[in-house]
């Protein structure tokens, strides 16, 4: 990659301080780096005390780890955000309409805009959902759209997370930590609040309650349990919403409702915000081995006795082959050209594309269509010869399993290092709530940052950190 073309969100491409960072830069110049280093450590202690940790799969002794937090905020102007959020809203509407369509009349296939095999042959497509209309017509109650930036006005969607986007607790706790450590920054800058998210989430979920719900819907969060990597977040959200955090073992179907075992007997649930994958949701309808789900919940769901958020079967929208059709999908359902760009994508299932990808493997990023968390991915420019050879084999064996994208020159934002500010690559995951009452986007989102110099991998499971993300009032 060509260093000169990298866009820094604080200093632009030409070392000119950009507007949104003006106030912050004044403040930073007046600070003693030693004091800031102490603050950086203080932030870590705060995170440990609050228990904002994640569990790493397959590592018993390092059971709980912190996601590194960087104290330098990422700052976005109100104007930039407005533009972005229009694009996000358009995309989320389209995803929701797409999901309704593929589980009903499949107009998009009839219209020849996407190949039939892409849906029917997709592991994430749930035949059990065909003809099922979720309450309020909402499939994706909570969505995270991963964005990357390559220039002052250039944002691309890297992937859509319509299944179970995680990370929102970090967005909230990062802000909480910044407010505690640097209150003065918030009196100099007018930062749009994120703290309403739990309230908005609660309202949004309640608005999706099934029609049969009496008055005040009972909402609960379903977690796989304390050993899940995102357990903290599940507990955090339940706590912030003031609802129960349940596991499969707490639930059973009683009189046609999904009910939780309380100290006073079984109590029905109206809306279940589940953080358990489709496959584990119902041992009677999906994976019979699952102990994380509720036997028979799908039957209750189909009968309209409970809202499951996100709806089963939404995971297909996260598929990276589907992603490559997203511009067509947005246009098909909204009748408008897409406001947010996709990253150019080669579908390795197509012979011409595969030939190109094999020829240019060392320049490309190759991803599994069902992969997530940065696993099973090849970054051509930094890969070893052995990695490349191994991937070439995999590609030839199962081309339909992969897509490829150019390595973008992702924007950078400064992080605080021993030698002062240093630019690192970032992405952004804004969080979107969908209900019949409308679409709600929290200003900002989760900024993930690759802490290693030059690295493009921002995943927390692979050495990424996070930052507080500010959207300013203009």
């Amino acid at each position: 990659m060509d260093d000169e073309r990298i866009f820094d969100e604080m200093w632009g491409s030409d070392a000119q301080l950009r507007g949104p960072y003006a106030q912050f830069n004044n403040w930073f110049d007046g600070e003693d780096p030693r004091h800031l280093r102490a603050k950086q450590r203080e932030a870590e202690d705060l995170f440990r005390l609050t228990g904002i940790t994640f569990n790493v799969y397959g590592r018993a002794e390092a059971e709980e780890r912190l996601i590194p937090f960087d104290i330098i905020p990422r700052i976005i102007s109100g104007h930039e955000w407005q533009k972005l959020s229009r694009g996000i809203e358009q995309r989320v509407r389209a995803i929701n309409a797409f999901l309704y369509d593929i589980y009903h009349r499949q107009e998009i296939i009839r219209a020849g805009r996407i190949p039939e095999a892409l849906i029917s042959g997709n592991e994430a497509f749930l035949p059990q959902m065909i003809g099922v209309s979720p309450p309020g017509g909402v499939y994706t109650h909570i969505v995270g759209i991963d964005l990357v930036r390559t220039g002052p006005d250039e944002f691309h969607v890297l992937e859509d997370n319509a299944r179970t986007p995680s990370g929102v607790s970090y967005m909230l706790e990062n802000r909480e930590t910044m407010l505690q450590m640097f209150p003065e920054l918030f009196s100099h800058n007018r930062v749009q609040p994120v703290q309403n998210y739990p309230r908005d989430l609660m309202r949004s979920l309640a608005a999706c309650a099934p029609a049969m719900t009496a008055s005040k819907p009972t909402v609960a969060v379903l977690t796989p349990g304390i050993f899940n990597s995102a357990y903290f977040e599940h507990a955090f959200l339940a706590d912030q919403m003031g609802v129960e955090l349940v596991e499969g073992g707490d639930l059973r179907v009683v009189d046609g409702r999904v009910a939780m075992r309380t100290t006073q007997g079984y109590k029905p649930i109206d809306v279940l915000y589940r953080r358990v994958d489709d496959d584990f949701l119902d041992p009677l309808n999906f994976n019979p081995e699952s102990r994380l789900g509720v036997p028979g919940i799908m039957d209750v769901y189909r009968a309209g006795g409970i809202t499951i958020a996100n709806a089963p079967g939404t995971g297909i929208a996260d598929d990276k082959a589907i992603y490559s059709y997203m511009p067509e999908i947005v246009e098909f359902y909204t009748g408008e050209p897409p406001l947010l760009k996709n990253v150019p994508t080669w579908r390795c299932a197509e012979p011409d594309a595969l030939a190109y990808v094999l020829d240019h493997l060392d320049e490309l990023v190759v991803k599994e269509v069902h992969g997530s968390g940065g696993y099973g991915m090849l970054i051509g420019p930094t890969a070893t010869k052995r990695d490349l050879a191994a991937f070439r084999k995999k590609l030839k064996a199962r081309p339909g399993n992969y897509i490829a994208q150019p390595t973008l020159s992702l924007s950078t934002v400064p992080i605080f290092t021993r030698s002062g500010l240093a630019p690192r690559h970032v992405d952004l995951r804004p969080f979107v709530l969908v209900s019949p009452a409308g679409i709600n986007i929290t200003p900002g989102g989760l900024t993930r940052v690759a802490l290693k110099k030059g690295s493009l991998v921002v995943n927390s499971s692979q050495g990424g950190g996070t930052k507080d993300t500010w959207v300013l009032e203009d």
Binding site: L49, T50, G51, F236, V243, E244, D250, R261, T263
Partner: protein
């Protein structure tokens, strides 16, 4: 409230209380070892027995030494009732019931666990022992304090208190169970005094020396000690106090839920039938038999509470 949450709260506070009681027992043992002229590892055996960890200790040790007894009670991972294991279990249960706790209680619990874990990450030298045990007691006190200061007085609070007092009553009963033979001969020989050291052990291990002095002055009459630890309703670690607190909290649940399950009747029965007489009646019954009986009843009460409030499926 979820049955699972009631279960988690109950055990979080039981383990917290256990960590504190074990720390106190170690302090007592250490104190006796230091003030005795002749070394007596026998005392450590009875301390291990009081903590209910003697069998586990014997399974992996050939003999009892002060160092290994302290280490077993303080930090052994194989000992599920060691201070470290108890704090870790309390904190794990707190993670389970995170949504039922206030932010302050959770931070006190998590912070207390982290301090304890760091302090006990390697063997504690004799010189550092007092500080380490002090930190454990402060940590548990902080959780208790924030519980009182910030938690709603609802079923969450009730289950927390029930866990605390069941563990505490059990602990006091076990101290008496292990030491009854010390009290007993002297009770029979009216007018004789309990061995000073034994007297100290018993009162220290429930932090009751000051309280006892306040009530009985300089008495060393074993009847007074037995009366104080079993029946005194002002003494927060006596059996009568603990069982009465359990009954009170169960009664709140009865009022709150509008349902009177068997566990309430059991607590009521223990209080009325065993803890409402004077010490002479207990001595007539037989001190040993009495303590055994109460220990069994408390255990059964715990099991009934688990059933009544659907802790498990």
């Amino acid at each position: 409230m979820l049955g699972k949450t009631a279960n988690g709260l109950f055990w979080m506070y039981r383990y917290l209380e256990r960590a504190e009681n074990t720390a106190r027992l170690i302090e007592t043992g250490q104190r006796i070892a230091l003030t005795r002229l002749t070394e007596s590892d026998n005392e450590w055996r009875s301390i291990l027995q009081t903590a209910g960890v003697c069998d586990g200790y014997d399974a992996v040790h050939d003999s009892i030494t002060k160092d290994s007894a302290i280490d077993w009670m303080l930090r052994a991972k194989e000992n599920s009732s060691s201070v470290l294991s108890s704090m870790s279990a309390a904190r794990q249960n707190a993670r389970f019931v995170r949504t039922a706790l206030t932010h302050e209680v959770w931070e006190a619990m998590n912070g207390g666990y982290m301090r304890t874990r760091d302090l006990l990450s390697r063997k504690v030298s004799e010189r550092d022992l007092a500080t380490a045990l002090g930190t454990v007691r402060q940590s548990t006190a902080l959780v208790r304090g924030s519980t009182h200061g910030t938690m709603m007085r609802n079923d969450i609070f009730n289950f927390s208190r029930i866990g605390t007092y069941l563990e505490r009553a059990d602990n006091t009963a076990r101290i008496l169970d292990v030491k009854y033979y010390v009290l007993l001969p002297s009770v029979m020989a009216v007018g004789s005094a309990v061995d000073n050291v034994q007297w100290e052990t018993i009162l220290r291990s429930v932090s009751a020396r000051g309280g006892f002095r306040m009530v009985y002055g300089s008495s060393t009459d074993p009847r007074d000690i037995a009366q104080f630890l079993i029946l005194d309703k002002r003494m927060p670690r006596s059996l009568a106090f603990g069982v009465s607190a359990i009954r009170t909290n169960l009664n709140h649940l009865v009022a709150n839920y509008g349902h009177r399950p068997p566990s309430f009747g059991m607590a009521d029965h223990i209080e009325r039938s065993y803890l409402s007489y004077d010490i002479d009646a207990i001595l007539d019954y037989g001190l040993h038999e009495f303590i055994q009986k109460v220990l069994t009843l408390i255990e059964e009460l715990g099991q009934q509470i688990e059933i009544d409030y659907r802790f498990y499926e």
